[in-house]
Assembly symmetry: none
Homo-oligomer: 240 residues x 2
DNA sequence: TCAGATACCAATTTGCATTTGGTCTATAAT
DNA sequence: ATTATAGACCAAATGCAAATTGGTATCTGA
């Protein structure tokens, strides 16, 4: 450990003064709402210091967490916005089937409730179409396709693009999460498959503008799915 | 009656033939990996038919679910992929403050309900901390920081990483959406600001494991925020 | 009456120039 | 010798105009 590293830090006074000068400038200048401060080239000119020196001062503020920077974007006051967790793969890696199921049970009933209030006749027509097609499905894969589309149509019926986006994210994670794994069985869902009745109850409630009924029907449906899923995992655990 | 001699007329035979011709073309031409087929203008020229007629044939294929189309993008084979916009910026561009508020009212009460079931003592301690800090805030910016952290702590308390991820997405969109715009007023929130009472009601309910109460308190809080937001927009509209 | 051609529209993509933080180098200063 | 300065360059990000593309309306002609 060489002590001269401290002395070569040449004049702590100088450094501190530039940081102080910068702090003062930032305190008195009113920044735009997004907290962005001027580009380094402008700021250094405005402060009458070199860009190098300014950057050293900015390094200090960044280390203190006062500012955050990003190439091409700029330098901003405040703390860096949390990493957009919107990465499906990352979410899926951190999650698991049970968690996905719980999240669905939290989110989707409320989406159904909202849809019961905002759904257009066209939405309901499409829901009915999904119902019919899912009954006619020749394979589980086809059935799953129409099931997914029904749930998404309900999310669309909220007429809220953000809710639809959140639903899509949830759905993408659901598909990405590694389950036991979906069988591509040639057999088709039994005509008395529980989802048929449950799906119909949901669409009926939405059609009748029964918000509470829609939420309950969706919750009931997802809880049944959850139960079947847990049963399946148990059986797989016993067999495996 | 000789049907086959009158091929110039617009009978079902002609229409069907264009569809067949199109099918044959698509079968023998190798499309790029994304399944995109040539623009309508090119394709109609290549097939020696008018764009109108081609579009009618494409309409048939689309109804059959063989292809999907999107303005500005093109026409593609296969089923339409769900636009998985996990992209915050894209979501924000398509959304607006009112929509964000509605989405919060749909999602967050249920998150609070789940949190009331799963919150740990440590979670509740942190919520109380956020409450206290928000009361002590010197500026709206500081207050907003603690408010955001409180809501996120509640989402964390669900112990569900996926729900937390969805909440973060919602929150990121909320920040990204351009409002009237947040004032950087030097004044601090009044000591009797409505959010203080409402936040406390939420945390109280969570602490008492009162799931319905937590959901109601959160809904009540967000509805108040929504009302204030609308009032503000109205005033801004009148002034501007 | 209806297919065909044309023009226009809005959503989207593409390409290019600009901006911006990050980094390196040469020069001058001390 | 060290350091500060200025300048140049890079990659990421942005902004903008032009081109592309599916969708739609209008006019024409048979």
């Amino acid at each position: 450990m060489r002590m001269d590293s401290l002395t070569t830090d040449a004049d702590p006074h100088t450094q501190k003064s530039t940081v102080t000068q910068l702090r003062a400038f930032l305190a008195q200048s009113d920044l735009p709402d997004d907290g962005r401060l001027p580009p380094e080239r402008e700021l250094s000119a405005a402060l009458g210091i070199s860009r190098t020196e300014l950057r050293k001062a900015l390094d200090v503020l960044e280390a203190e967490g006062q500012i955050w920077r990003h190439v091409g974007k700029g330098t901003f006051m405040g703390s860096r916005p949390l990493d957009t967790f919107a990465d499906i793969a990352a979410l899926a890696r951190r999650s698991n089937p049970a968690e996905v199921m719980r999240a669905r049970i939290v989110i989707e009933p409320e989406i159904a409730r909202a849809a019961a209030f905002t759904a257009t006749p066209a939405d309901i027509t499409e829901m009915r179409l999904c119902l019919a097609r899912s009954r006619q499905a020749d394979s589980w894969r086809q059935y799953e396709g129409w099931d997914t589309r029904l749930h998404r149509t309900i999310a669309e019926a909220t007429q809220n693009g953000l809710l639809l986006g959140l639903f899509d994210t949830l759905n993408a994670v659901r598909r990405a999460v590694t389950w036991g794994r979906l069988r591509a069985l040639p057999v088709r869902p039994a005509p008395d498959h529980h989802s048929f009745r449950e799906h119909e109850a949901i669409v009926d409630a939405i059609e009748h503008r029964d918000m509470a009924g829609a939420a309950n029907a969706m919750r009931n449906h997802l809880r049944t799915v959850e139960r079947k899923l847990l049963d399946k995992q148990l059986r797989a655990a016993e067999e495996g």
